[in-house]
Homo-oligomer: 411 residues x 2
């Protein structure tokens, strides 16, 4: 008889979760780690002993006492651990290089043509450059896609806005880059980032709603991104708001997105006699006090409020966070949104808080990187075998000073 690796449902993921937690939350006591991971203190002591012996973790100063024995803080030995995140859009690829704690170390934007026959290879080259430029130990690459992804590990993509159908993004990138690659719907990547660095610190069940070209929604349940039976959960942009109505890009009529997506806002503005060619221009008009422009936003806000009330009724989250490229004009949405949202919520649910988050261009790509950095916490196994690889790399530590990947060798 021999080995046996028994993976008692939690799946040997606690050690990497400790490393991940120390990375994202900074120095933490054993007791706090145990509480944060919902694991017994005994386990932390034992696993920590091993991590200390292997030189991955070190003991730091004492924290001030809270009435009892003061806590001994634990910290990562080398924080030169990071991940690369990329967000693919219809005309460019944004790539960021982030550290474990979520700070962006580098950020580049490459022009990109998803319609080109070798588009995925081109994406591979872009990411290859990022891998070469990466300093320190690279855990893996996360890729955010505006479309449906079967699983993070296999990464087969269905993305109408890119013109991609049955595109094997994961497999191709993996073979050319030689590091773990995780592919996910872009909105879900934001949900993961929120779980690590945002709402997830205080809540476990929430919605992450994006407004912009389209309307999206990531659903986090008990700290895990809920993907649905076919990876298509949270497609609230296509919730029908009326029996008929404007035609949507998806082919149907009455979709939320067809009322309040960027294109719809511009159309609505045109109908009111405004001559705006971009949402920035429309927002500027509203900023300047133009009543028609403000009406456009107010109406959109009311529509969004009603839609989200419906989603809140079916999902029952603790809290809702709103962000996205369009969030800059939120002040103009709000007058329509607030009364509509609250007014359509059941009495007992009216208290559901919503949080507005500022937006910057890196956020999509940062979310994609968070995909990698979240694998240590991924109890549901959403990241599959690629997640396992990431955890292995985390345990392997810094390696030989530079951490450049040996291309090609990887399955």
């Amino acid at each position: 008889m021999s080995s046996g690796s028994g993976q008692s449902a939690r799946g040997d993921l606690v050690p990497s979760a400790i490393l991940g937690l120390l990375g994202t939350r900074g120095p933490t006591s054993r007791a706090d780690v145990a509480r944060a991971l919902d694991v017994s203190p005994a386990t932390i002591t034992q696993l920590t002993k091993d991590l200390l012996a292997r030189g991955l973790v070190m003991e730091l100063e004492h924290a001030p006492s809270l009435g009892g024995r003061p806590a001994r803080l634990l910290g990562l030995v080398q924080s030169a651990v990071g991940a690369i995140g990329a967000k693919v859009t219809a005309d460019h690829v944004a790539v960021v290089d982030v550290a474990l704690d979520g700070t962006v170390r580098n950020s580049v934007v490459h022009p990109f043509d998803p319609d080109a026959p070798d588009a995925i290879d081109a994406l591979g080259h872009i990411l290859g450059d990022a891998v070469a430029a990466h300093e320190g130990h690279l855990l893996g690459i996360g890729v955010g896609i505006p479309g449906a992804v079967d699983t993070q590990a296999s990464g087969v993509v269905e993305a109408p806005t890119l013109g991609w159908s049955d595109a094997h993004v994961g497999a191709v990138l993996r073979s050319t880059l030689g590091v773990p690659v995780l592919v996910e719907n872009d909105v879900n990547t934001l949900a993961v980032a929120e779980r690590l660095y945002g709402l997830g610190r205080a809540h476990s069940t929430y919605l992450v709603v994006t407004i912009g070209r389209g309307i999206g929604c990531g659903i986090v349940i008990d700290g895990a991104v809920y993907r649905g039976a076919s990876g298509g959960a949270g497609e609230i942009g296509h919730v029908p708001m009326a029996q008929d109505g404007p035609r949507c890009g998806c082919g149907n009529v009455g979709c939320l997105e067809a009322y309040i997506g960027d294109d719809a806002l511009l159309r609505s503005a045109a109908e009111r006699g405004l001559d705006t060619s971009s949402t920035e221009a429309l927002a500027a008009l509203a900023d300047a006090g133009d009543p028609a422009a403000r009406a456009v936003y107010r109406e959109a806000g009311a529509m969004l409020g009603r839609a989200l009330a419906g989603v809140v009724h079916t999902v029952d989250p603790e809290v809702v966070v709103l962000l996205g490229e369009g969030i800059g004009a939120w002040q103009h949405w709000e007058p329509g949104f607030e009364p509509s949202f609250r007014g359509h919520l059941m009495p007992g649910r009216r208290g559901v808080p919503f949080v507005i988050e500022p937006w910057d261009e890196d956020k999509w790509a940062l979310g994609a990187a968070a995909l990698v950095l979240a694998t240590p916490f991924d109890a549901t196994g959403a990241a599959g075998d690629q997640g396992r690889l990431v955890r292995e790399r985390l345990h392997a530590g810094a390696g030989p000073a530079n951490g450049n990947a040996t291309v090609g060798a990887h399955r």
Copy 2:
């Protein structure tokens, strides 16, 4: 040092899951049990050995070979194990006594006044009679409530239709009955029943939608009923279908229920000049071919189709099942429903199947009983400490021939 009960995330629930499976699915081979419970065959062998020794399980005949060694079927020694289920409504309580396999052994309806000051005590007496009448080993009692329940174990109820607010149903019943009591929203009980005896055999993520006085929706994700952050998930009856619209019982306007609930159907009929005092009468008119009555249903079907399309987009289930008191008239809903549902689904999601299930009056109460019978499979711990008690009683076996409870002794 001593005991230590290590509950490695799955929580020592496999043994009772074996018993539960043998009860609900009938005689099953070890290999099939392992597959059904997603547990290793080794575990089944070991635990089965114990259950055999304790006389709870026996080996039956061989099943015909499927090309290899033929399977030895396992069966429960005594199937006189059952549960009691009760559904509370505004004017009566339906109580059923069911066996492990879901067959109804007895069914009674008691008049009931939820507004009476001692209503919960009265409920306790009704259930006490059922406990006394129960033959064999009683695992516990499930109670279905048309309202929000905090947790199944504590059973604090918020039910406007009953006039109950902050009602400690669970605690009171538990203390007077001396057996485990699980309280849950009525729609969720149907979802649990479906998980044990219906869709759950073939699917793990689905919606259970009820039509009748109200419109409800139970959400099952990965085989577990999803309750939401505050136990209020699936309240699709109050999804707003328009910015304004008819006033709903919840106080808001435009709720789905205010369009297609029983009352709304009658109102709609009246507006079309029909003189119907009940939905039965309305359905009879439609059966007879009355065009106005049919229009009422067609319009309601279209509204329901649109609403469910929205829910499907946000939850992404494998399949949707429709049932409830109102399902008898489904043939009249369908002409409106089908085109509206499909037409509002995104192209990639249009294939989502929906299943219509017939209805009988016992179904609510049966679902409540299923709550108890499902605890062995409850990996998420929704049933809490009461679930643990149920599992203990399942292990305890038949006991002294009659299985009448020792009242009062129970916490």
